[in-house]
């Protein structure tokens, strides 16, 4: 939702920015054009002034000096000089039909508009009124006059109109933005639900119709996929459960009878020893079945975690002590290094499962180093408040194949070596959202979430 508000505010901001930019561009262009127009007008005025100033009377006759004539012939098609009575004192290239005295009414008319469709420019000189004409249809003449009140009003209305325009555009943008926001909100909710694996059915209409359709399709696809995965997981888990269940009864018989035989005094010693081996191997199968069941339950998230508060320092001391108390051989040593800060740390977790995973890791080091090794178990507090556990040994280390199998997806570990104990340990830590990292073949590091 926060994202959506950001999108909407950005949209509004962009729209207003666009509007202001357009406005500035227009003002800029208006100023440029106005400047050009003013320049052109003043140019026309300056031409006629040049001509007017070049007029002179010699011997009672009006004549035009050289540069005045050049300017006239360059910019005008004809010209005439009228005296105060409207009679022509002087003329140049004046068409025949215009060569006549002009009344005051005629002068007033062409000074505002055109003379025989010629756009004319007038200038009062010492000798009379100079009238110069440009090419027909080359200039648009207009007259503007209004009351000062109206002009003032227009001057005041410009900022008001500008403001009203801006407000109108802002409101239009806001209305469209809100409509857009509403349709996006539906999509946003849909995407959020989709990310939480909830089924969605969005209304397929409006401007987001196509997007909604695609999202609905994706949701259907994901649901089908999820159902297929769940069915497959259920089938796998129940298969493992039923197989292990079915094995338990015959294995009980094997273990029971083998235990009986190994203690049967009527049997020769060799046969008693063989019976003991059968009993021992049956016990191994029993543990394997239990591990297989636990790993499958953890894999398919069917193992509920019994979360309680636990002190990691206490947990580790108990685990390490148990190893010693259960009879650790003299060639093995387990050293525990506890950061004093960890003593007061309380974590949430399934104590039984965590005990099992730490024991698995320590037990692995011991089991795979029958000639002896020193296992170091350390716990420290990180600056983030997480606890970092490290279990390392100076023994043979975890083979590469096992490390690879541990980091690979379960589907690709069919040919992997037997790593049930390690896998379960990793699964338990990950089920607690703790990170497991094999720093090297001899060191595993676990960081709490």
């Amino acid at each position: 939702m926060k994202n959506l508000s950001r999108i909407l505010s950005r949209y509004l901001f962009t729209a207003v920015l666009l509007l202001l930019l357009t406005l500035f561009l227009n003002v800029f262009l208006y100023i440029i054009c106005g400047f050009q127009i003013v320049r052109a007008t003043s140019r026309t005025a300056s031409h006629v002034r040049v001509v007017a100033e070049a007029l002179e009377i010699t011997d009672g006759r009006v004549s035009l000096s050289g540069n005045g004539f050049d300017c006239l012939s360059q910019h005008y098609v004809w010209a005439m000089l009228l005296d105060d009575d409207g009679c022509i004192l002087w003329q140049w290239e004046l068409p025949q039909q215009l060569n006549h005295p002009y009344t005051a009414r005629q002068i007033a008319a062409f000074s505002k508009w055109y003379l025989d469709d010629y756009p004319v420019t007038e200038r009062i000189t010492d000798y009379g009124l100079l009238v110069a004409a440009q090419e027909r249809y080359s200039t648009w003449k207009q007259n503007f006059s209004d009351s000062i009140g109206i002009v003032d009003f227009i001057a005041h209305m410009i900022p008001v109109t500008l403001f009203i325009n801006l407000l109108f555009v802002f409101l239009v943008v806001l209305v469209f933005g809100l409509r857009f926001y509403r349709s996006l909100r539906v999509l946003d909710k849909g995407i959020q639900d989709l990310s939480e694996q909830k089924p969605i059915r969005l209304p397929e209409k409006g401007m987001t119709e196509l997007l909604a359709k695609q999202l609905n399709l994706t949701s259907d696809l994901l649901i089908r996929q999820k159902e297929r995965l769940e069915r497959r997981d259920d089938a796998r888990a129940s298969w493992i459960r039923s197989v292990s269940h079915d094995i338990r009864t015959p294995l009980s018989l094997i273990m029971g009878y083998a235990s009986d035989l190994k203690e049967d005094p009527s049997l020769p010693e060799e046969q008693q020893r063989l019976a003991e081996r059968i009993a021992h191997q049956s016990l191994k199968i029993k543990r394997l079945i239990e591990d297989l069941n636990l790993t499958s339950r953890l894999e398919y998230e069917m193992q509920p975690l019994r979360i309680t508060e636990l002190k990691p320092a206490r947990l580790l001391r108990t685990i390490v002590s148990d190893f010693y108390n259960q009879g650790l051989s003299d060639v093995h040593t387990i050293d525990l290094y506890m950061d004093p800060d960890v003593e007061q740390v309380v974590l949430s977790g399934d104590a039984a499962l965590l005990t099992r995973s730490f024991s698995n890791l320590i037990g692995n080091s011991i089991r795979h180093n029958p000639d002896g090794c020193t296992v170091s178990v350390a716990a420290g507090l990180q600056s983030s408040g997480s606890v970092c556990f490290q279990i390392s040994d100076d023994g043979c280390g975890i083979p590469d194949a096992v490390l690879q199998a541990l980091t690979a997806a379960p589907a690709h570990t069919e040919k992997a070596p037997h790593i049930m104990g390690l896998r379960i340990a990793c699964q338990i830590f990950r089920a607690h959202d703790w990170q497991v990292e094999f720093a090297d073949a001899n060191t595993v590091r676990i960081v709490t979430g």
């Binding site: 269940h245 338990r248 009864t249 294995l251 009980s252 018989l253 094997i254 273990m255 029971g256 009878y257 235990s259 009986d260 049956s282 016990l283 199968i285 029993k286 239990e290 069941n293 339950r297 509920p304 019994r306 002190k311 320092a313 206490r314 001391r317 108990t318 390490v320 002590s321 010693y324 108390n325 050293d335 525990l336 290094y337 506890m338 003593e343 007061q344």
Partner: protein, 241 residues
């Protein structure tokens, strides 16, 4: 019943081979009165006729389940029940124990373990009240004798008294003699749950205890420190050598 081996035991399991094996195992260990039932119906019939003093129950039975069978039995009697099941899920275990079962063993099982647990239930149920609590034998640590009940340490003609905390420490160590007892477990025993965190306090008490039970408290031979973990009371003289 004068002895646990005279206890009437009813074994219920849908697998006849398991029943046969259980019967053999228990008979060989000396149990005299055993009956078997392959289903709920037969189990109910035998229960009312035979009035067993202990029932070993499977959970999955052809005509019902062990949980409801136990409920039925418990309506008329407080007979102890031990579940023996191929179902190892925590929920089943918790359900069984929650219903009041005395123990829960998953198949496959070690016969010795089954017999031990079964014997423990019988002793607990039928003989605990009758059994005389034997007085704890005095704890002999070299030339010193500790009387745990009175908290007195005798050394020749000299006698010293242990404080309550020293006695609690020594009792905890004695109960786990030969094993490491963690700082946490010792603190729990002396001060109650989750007290640990004051290692120095514990060390002070251990030092005072050593002054009373060791010849050379600074070089102890009976109450040993296990670095980083806790303390250990040496099992016997043999271990000392």
């Amino acid at each position: 019943m004068n002895h646990i081996y005279e206890a009437r035991i009813l074994l219920v399991d849908d697998n006849p081979e398991i029943l046969e094996m259980l019967e053999n195992i228990l008979a060989r260990r000396g149990f005299l009165s055993l009956r078997t039932a392959p289903d709920c119906e037969k189990a109910r019939e035998l229960f009312s006729l035979y009035m067993p003093e202990l029932v070993v129950l499977d959970i999955m039975l052809p005509d019902g389940d062990g949980f409801s069978l136990m409920r039925d039995f418990r309506l008329v009697s407080d007979v102890p029940v031990l579940f023996l099941s191929a179902r190892d899920e925590d929920n089943d275990r918790l359900l069984g124990l929650g219903l009041g079962a005395d123990d829960y063993i998953t198949k496959p099982f070690l016969p010795d373990e089954l017999v031990l647990r079964l014997t423990a239930i019988l002793k607990r149920t039928y003989f605990s009240r009758l059994r005389q609590e034997p007085e704890d034998p005095p704890l002999v640590l070299g030339d010193r004798t500790v009387f745990l009940k009175s908290g007195i340490v005798r050394y020749g003609t000299e006698e010293r008294t242990l404080t309550a905390k020293e006695l609690a420490l020594l009792k905890k160590l004695y109960e786990n003699r030969g094993n490491i007892v963690t700082f946490d477990a010792l603190s729990d025993a002396v001060w109650g749950e989750n007290y640990y965190g004051y290692e120095n306090t514990l060390m002070v008490h251990v030092r005072r205890l050593r002054e009373k039970i060791e010849d050379h408290p600074s070089a102890p031979v009976w109450l040993l420190t296990v670095r980083g973990l806790g303390y250990r009371l040496v099992r016997d003289r043999k271990e000392l050598s």
